[in-house]
Symmetry: D2
Subunit: 127 residues, 4 copies
């Protein structure tokens, strides 16, 4: 079963570069915000998970940039979680402005403990 969230982001001035567009490194930050909100919607708070010794680190990231986002744009970051048994979680992302697709992305997170050792994703987060 997959879960989905759509998170609004307004492009910050500081995120834009001399080409007048959002710098490509900002998308990774937006993806992170979106999957945190997806988790919150599922009843879990990432800040709390870390206190319990459950950390998610990004093992893979890929992004395809189709059209630029510009300063002050109101974007929706759509995120879908693809849960699976094991130590990893996949997410896919779509960055959309007024129904127009600007970018797509994928991440693989690995679940680790306080010492960085791989551990199974806690069952209650495999919603």
């Amino acid at each position: 079963m997959t879960a989905t969230a759509a998170v609004p982001i307004r492009v910050r001035y500081q995120e834009c570069d001399p080409m007048n567009v959002a710098h490509h490194s900002a998308y990774a930050v937006w993806f992170e915000i979106a999957r945190t909100e997806l988790l919150r919607q599922q009843g879990a708070v990432y800040a709390q998970l870390e206190k319990e010794g459950v950390f998610f680190v990004v093992a893979r990231l890929s992004t395809r940039f189709r059209k630029p986002a510009v300063y002050d744009d109101e974007l929706e970051i759509e995120v879908t979680g693809h849960p699976s048994v094991g130590v990893k979680i996949e997410h896919t992302y779509r960055v959309v402005r007024n129904g127009v697709l600007l970018a797509t992305g994928e991440t693989t997170l690995a679940c680790v403990d306080r010492d960085g050792k791989l551990q199974p994703v806690p069952e209650r987060y495999l919603i």
Copy 2:
């Protein structure tokens, strides 16, 4: 023919996150610095290119994170350009600390003009 550069980067405090490691969004910034230095080594200055109406935008980015980088680490960002005739340039990256591979990455840049329209990569940059 390919060209290669190895660019030193020291991990900034501001680039690190509560897990005590460099945040994954920083790697895209380091890759950008590395390919700029590769270009400089080839005799071109990106800041000058933009004045001449030659812009490179990132169309694709992918990164695989193997081991974390931590604050104050001295890294080498190895970059290889894979020139080709057309409107795109591929680069591959390796992030290395004392000979240990921490991450790998790939980008595809598209060459555009001041209005964001695709244009051929100027021949003199196809070194």
Copy 3:
């Protein structure tokens, strides 16, 4: 006459550092977002101003950090504009979490044209 806005900000993971707190450089970004929203509330859109050749550059910034903000905190950035005839605008800021003051700040913006030359703040923004 002064104008005031209170803008909600949720602290991003990428904005936090190994001390588990929001890095001090993030506050300047939050202040910028807050004064942009104050301007919007007054009927002006900064992105539009730039298209009309009205730019605001930061000439002075000072911040006093009293208590740390941590990841996922919901903050209010309170901003007050202190309009005056001339080429400058002063703003003051308060960063508040659940009624507790975390930081205060002040900026002086200078109004410049497309070439960076000082110009009077357009009268209609001296609300």
Copy 4:
């Protein structure tokens, strides 16, 4: 007694904004790098200090921006430490490009322990 260092910084593309200049929030990051290098020059490594339970948090920051820095500029960040007995350290900064002063700044750091409680600056860092 005061100590001084001059640290080279090349302005990153990602640090620049649609006005084609380094965003003002970047200066706080450069100041941090400069005082870390000053510390290193004095024989101390901040990353090591944190392991020993000695943390420095920024209590005050002020910056005056005189002239903009642009992408690819080679800057010198001059930092002077003003040591004093107690829990605080003052630093002053000058951002210089080819002998031209672009900005000045001041910070006050407070020395805290792992729990964020004020503690005296260790004597060996009062050089």
